[in-house]
């Protein structure tokens, strides 16, 4: 069990080493490059705030995904649920674009969560009633939602005074997440993420629902034998997951962005899958993992400025983390095998 939570650290170390090798091949001093990548971005207060800013959506989405993954439901369309949540939440924000009031932000947040939830229900309902593969449906819907957003910001929702830029009006001040510190971009959305962590810990480890989710993940047959209703549970975990992704979406548009445009998320929905795995589907593990993965985003931006390498390098690190993590799971598997062998030997 200790090894189970230890291997993510091995994966991170191997990723850093692998990154060093890649930097070396590309002709950079690996130590220098890694320093720019992993230390420079968080060496000041602004950097730390940016780290938390990027970790917030990752953490929120990954918490939601952990419900799905724990119960063996492969929702990989969180990016789509984020986008649709942002569309619904953003729509509400645009309704109030010239109004102020304390009730506006809560309305947007609720709308975003419901939006994400509805969008996640599509693969869930198709899975429960038509037996379709949720991996493919949720994935296809990512592109549908992104195209819908594209249509809205270019067409009906585009800013009438915006010179045909593909973006909506700026949201009113009441539609924006309150900033935590003057001059930093970190906003109140982080409390949503922390609340999600606490709630998910409570639900997963202290309630009957959490027990059912875990049992279904370990063995579907056992869950059926125990009389757990599989269909309702699939719907519930997808709704939780979609709501979290939708919250992440509204967090972005009411936080740092302040309007709708094409690029509201640098694939947070996909990267959060890595976060969920790296955090071992454990709420507190996910906090840690979201910080690590957020650093790869930040590092890529810093490296782009200082080393003139494309910011896509962040994805090289993200991919490597998941590769190494999955590979190191083999160690666990292997260990289980050795242990079970020993038990057999004892018996005979």
């Amino acid at each position: 069990m200790a090894l189970y939570f230890f291997t993510p650290f091995i994966a991170i170390i191997l990723t850093i080493l692998g990154g060093g090798i890649i930097f070396y091949i590309l002709g950079f001093n690996p130590i220098e490059a890694l320093k720019f990548y992993f230390l420079t971005p968080i060496s000041n207060l602004y950097g730390l705030s940016e780290l938390l800013l990027k970790a917030t959506p990752l953490c929120l989405i990954a918490i939601g995904l952990s419900f799905c993954f724990k119960s063996n439901n492969w929702n990989i369309g969180a990016e789509g649920q984020l986008t649709f949540g942002a569309i619904v939440g953003g729509g509400v924000a645009l309704l109030f674009y010239n109004q102020e009031g304390f009730y506006i932000l809560p309305l947007i947040i609720i709308a975003g969560a419901i939006g994400g939830m509805i969008f996640a229900l599509i693969p869930a309902i198709l899975k429960t009633y038509f037996n379709t593969n949720e991996i493919l449906v949720s994935l296809m819907l990512v592109y549908v939602s992104k195209l819908l957003l594209d249509y809205l910001v270019v067409g009906p929702w585009s800013n009438p005074e915006g010179f045909n830029f593909p973006e909506t009006r700026q949201f009113s001040d009441s539609s924006r997440m309150p900033l935590l510190f003057e001059g930093l971009r970190i906003h109140a959305g982080i409390f949503l993420a922390l609340a999600a962590v606490m709630l998910s810990w409570f639900v997963l480890y202290k309630t009957y629902l959490g027990f059912k989710i875990k049992v279904s993940g370990l063995s579907l047959k056992t869950a059926k034998y125990a009389g757990f209703k599989g269909k309702t549970m699939i719907l519930v975990v997808f709704m939780i997951s979609g709501a979290c992704a939708g919250l992440a979406g509204v967090g972005e548009i009411t936080g740092p962005i302040g309007q709708l445009h094409r690029m509201i998320s640098p694939d947070y929905g996909f990267t959060a899958i890595i976060v969920a795995f790296l955090g071992r589907l454990n709420p507190f593990g996910i906090i840690f993992a979201s910080l690590v993965v957020a650093l790869t985003y930040l590092g890529a931006e810093t490296a782009q400025i200082f080393l003139q390498i494309p910011k896509y390098t962040g994805q090289v690190f993200q991919g490597m983390i998941l590769f190494f993590l999955l590979a190191s799971d083999y160690l666990l598997f292997f260990k289980v095998k050795i242990l079970s062998l020993k038990k057999n030997e004892l018996r005979h």
């Binding site: 592109y143 990267t271 494309p310 090289v316 598997f333």
Partner: protein, 310 residues
């Protein structure tokens, strides 16, 4: 704009050209999936093929080396996926996603010095016939050799799966790895081969984009075609000939949007772009409801981990 017959010929020709990367990648992925392996890394393997093909073309100035090299690079990157899923028994979905994310990042890193370099003209076959025959000319002639290969590939794949012993082995491994293994088939080896073949085809699909279709290197230039190819395999219900038809439909939608944009048609282009994805979902629902239909071609063990107890 007049819709005369020669224009329609040219239109069909361009639809064929735009469907080539989809046919190649989807045919490769189809073999991989028929062996029971779900590789979501298509987009990543394609983009790696695109950059390595283009880079090799610039470095060696030899298109043959570039095309072969792109396929090899697809193979190399798919080895990562094969090793993880087959030897280390990792989850197919997570590993494939990691491959796509990794591939997009790595290609941008490798391609840093190749942005803005003009491509080389790829030789086309029968260019004189293209001009001289009015309607069929642009459809049948004046294409690159890769296009002809792509259009033959679904038929070859169909023949391979249905008429050859090896094809039967691949299907057996995909449908029931345990029985296949009991028959003495090396399931892991077969799956490795299918994964590497899929990698080679995705690499070629990428090279088609960077060497022939739009001869240059742009970051993220596959632009989601890998995901459409994945959708296409499902849309075609794992049948190679239907892959060809589906690719022409999906390719046609792409070309259609360009023309509709040009003539200022009413339907927003985004709705047309969303059609391939929506159609795939509908097909999924239809085939999944009817268990007989899905049993026909769907590899039963798709995405499940297989290991042999020793």
């Amino acid at each position: 704009m007049s819709l005369d017959i020669s224009f329609i010929g040219i239109l069909i020709g361009s639809i064929m050209a735009s469907s080539v990367p989809l046919i190649l990648a989807a045919s490769g992925e189809l073999i991989t999936e028929r062996s029971g392996v779900l590789n979501l890394g298509v987009e990543g393997m394609m983009i790696i093929g695109a950059i390595s093909g283009f880079a090799l073309m610039v470095i060696t100035d030899n298109l043959f080396i570039a095309v072969v090299g792109s396929m090899l690079s697809g193979v190399i990157i798919s080895i990562i996926f094969g090793f993880l899923t087959q030897s280390l028994l990792t989850n197919h979905v997570a590993t494939g996603l990691a491959l796509t994310i990794f591939g997009i990042g790595l290609s941008a890193m490798l391609g840093k010095n190749f942005v803005g370099i003009p491509g080389k003209e790829f030789p086309i076959l029968f260019s004189s016939l293209k001009e001289s025959i009015p309607f069929f000319g642009p459809i049948l002639f004046g294409h690159s050799i890769v296009l002809y290969f792509a259009f033959a590939l679904p038929f070859l794949t169909n023949f391979f799966l249905k008429k050859t012993k090896l094809g039967l082995v691949v299907r057996a491994v995909g449908d029931s790895p345990v029985s296949a293994s009991n028959q003495g088939i090396n399931v892991i080896l077969v799956r490795y081969c299918c994964i590497l073949y899929g990698g080679a085809m995705c690499g070629l699909a990428g090279a088609y984009l960077s060497l022939i279709y739009t001869p240059q290197w742009i970051e993220n230039m596959t632009a989601g075609r890998g995901w459409i190819a994945l959708a296409l395999v499902v849309f075609a219900t794992w049948s190679p000939i239907k892959v060809l038809i589906g690719a022409l439909i999906f390719g046609g939608i792409t070309i259609l949007q360009l023309h509709m944009q040009a003539i200022g048609f009413r339907i927003p282009v985004q709705f047309l772009s969303a059609l391939p994805y929506l159609m795939t979902i509908i097909v999924l629902v239809v085939i999944s409801r009817d268990s007989r239909k899905i049993k026909l071609n769907t590899p039963t063990s798709l995405g499940r981990i297989f290991y042999k107890e020793k």
